[in-house]
Amino acid sequence: MNHSNAVQAHMHRDDYGAKIGMWLFLFTELILFGGLFIVYAVYRFTYGDGFSLASKELDTLVGMINTIVLLTSSLTMAMSITAIQQGRRRLSIGLVGATNALALVFMVNKYFEWTAKFHHGLFPGGKELLERTNGEILYFGLYYVMTGLHAIHVLIGMVIMTFMMVYLKTGHVNKDSFVKLENSGLYWHLVDLIWIFLFPLFYLIH
């Protein structure tokens, strides 16, 4: 470790430290979802047939559209950092805005998907669901919890993006100080990462 840097860190802001902190936080998020993935893995192992049956009721197309939407939002997010590094503030704002818009598309899509399921009585405690086998009940339980928790993260992400747009506008985040935007980006990519696994686990594997 170069100590002149460490000393500097005492006096100036420590972007490097901020990034370490953010990554550590992302690990906690990863493990938070990881716990759910463990539950999923165990139940798929125990109730392979029920899971297979239930997963066929999800619409792969909806899942795929949402995957593409999130991947694209990750792209715009990543590019917004390049933009601010080059000092192109307006472009950066536009890209963060695009990220936010795509997140909204994701949520709307999710909303229609969930309400359709609810209409079919496939919600926790719903009569339709309780008549099914244990494996299917657990599958839908996990489906709602995992995609729900993910959706909450998307919503939080949208709030963060809105703040970032304001910060970019006021110059609080600028060409020389953009670690906040970088960290928001890291968060957003993690949300994307989680979805990259949720998508095959719920929509693709039967």
Binding site: A6, A9, V39, V42, T46, P124, G135
Partner: protein, 546 residues
Amino acid sequence: MSNHALASQSARTDFMRAAGSRKGILSWILSTDHKRIGILYMIAMGIFFAVGVLFGLLIRLELIAPGKTIMEAQTYNSVFTLHGIIMIFLFIIPGLPAVFGNFFLPILIGARDVSFPRLNLLSWWLFVAGGLMAIVSVFLPGGPADTGWTFYIPYSVRTSTNVIPALLAAFTLGFSSILTGINFVTTVHRLRAPGMTWFRMPLFIWSLYATGWVQVLATPIVGITLLLVVVERALGVGIFDPALGGDPILYQHLFWIYSHPAVYIMILPAMGLISEVIPVFARRTIFGYSFIAFSSIAIALLGSLVWAHHMFTVGMSDTAQWIFSLLTFLVSIPSAIKVFNWVSTLYKGSIELEPPMLFALAFIFQFSIGGFTGLMQGALALNMHLHDTSFIVAHFHYVMFGGTGFGIFAAMHYWFPKMFGKMYNKARANVSFILIFIGFNVLYFPLFIAGYMGMPRRYYDYLPEFQSLHFISTIGSWILVLGLIMMVANLLMGLRNGSRASSNPWGGTTLEWTIQSPPTVENFETIPVVATGPYDYSRYERGEHA
């Protein structure tokens, strides 16, 4: 440090009195100064500890004789649940890292604060919020949770008591713990003073660093698990409930994936603290520095892989049984290495039995008993007999209280003069130590015997053959509480009218002893440059001490 620097520093106001932008209590509860936050934790934790002790005392009083003594079974079940939740989440886990880690981690590495001071304040607020939630759950209609602190499924889904507030309390406290972990790991990476290489860090820092990682990587698992129980109870989502096909054992796996490493979150900082105290009072360098440092990492690592030894009787696969049993035995080795190194540090030292040293030596003795009885439970055949008996209760109290608890007491007596600039009455501290030591052992040792004889744990009532052991144990609890009251009173008296403490009353060599007592807001006027290891006592060896 030159005399000039010392003189100019003593003129500066310390962090207790420093005028900030806010007045009165707000200058404390909104402060981002790591030292003030440490003291805030200490106050909050002290209150929760008192409540926890009271509940423990009530448990012991109920068990003094068979049959109903002072309370109904339902009350008893809630009392031991709350005793567990409070002592684990609100005392033992935050005890050393949040109080003394916050106060001394930046100072010991030569920094002015932690990396994220505002996040640090947020952790404290979350801690208080979690504690309040736990307390509120007692008074809400439905009554306090009666599930035991483990919240085992399916009982926790079926009981009508206030499980959800208790779960949310534990979740919030877990979140607070995670934020502290993130802060400490980042601080250790980023804010070490020039020359403070990894192997010049005090061992307390090593242990906090290892603890920080465990907090970051294990706590989220229990967070999500408790949340799942919440959604299960609140929304009827099928996750663990066997009525919906769920697997109660999966809950236990997830619960212990965190809660066993949590034991190491509790004990590691205490081990680090002991490694600080012993060299100071033996006036010599620690024996086997790097072995102690690496054993902290090894404990954090291996300790994360042994959770299912809490579950040997649930009927796991044989493969899981032997793997977890073997790993459990292996985790004892780094602990043994530490104990041997501590004892060797006494060899050819120049030992003064000040109060912190007494607590530290008692730690080694009691932690060893806790460790050896832990080996017994790691053995598969024996575990079948001992599991869920009062043998376990005795074992983990020997580790948690006899170990970490005594570590916290050692830290309080060790750093008290630095934190407050005053000295307590040492003679009274010694007497309270003796009472606590005797009371502790009288309280918990009989439970080993009762457990081996077949006394199950979490029992409101018991068979007559266990009465004499329970009676002795309850007597022990009175001695212990007497000692605790005396210790706290002595410290508070020291705070009020203790004699002025010098900046280095024990002759320590780590960085906190180079600054004034109590420290200034900035800790260091100029960031020190570190040139030697943390325990350089060569001046005493040469006979040149002032």
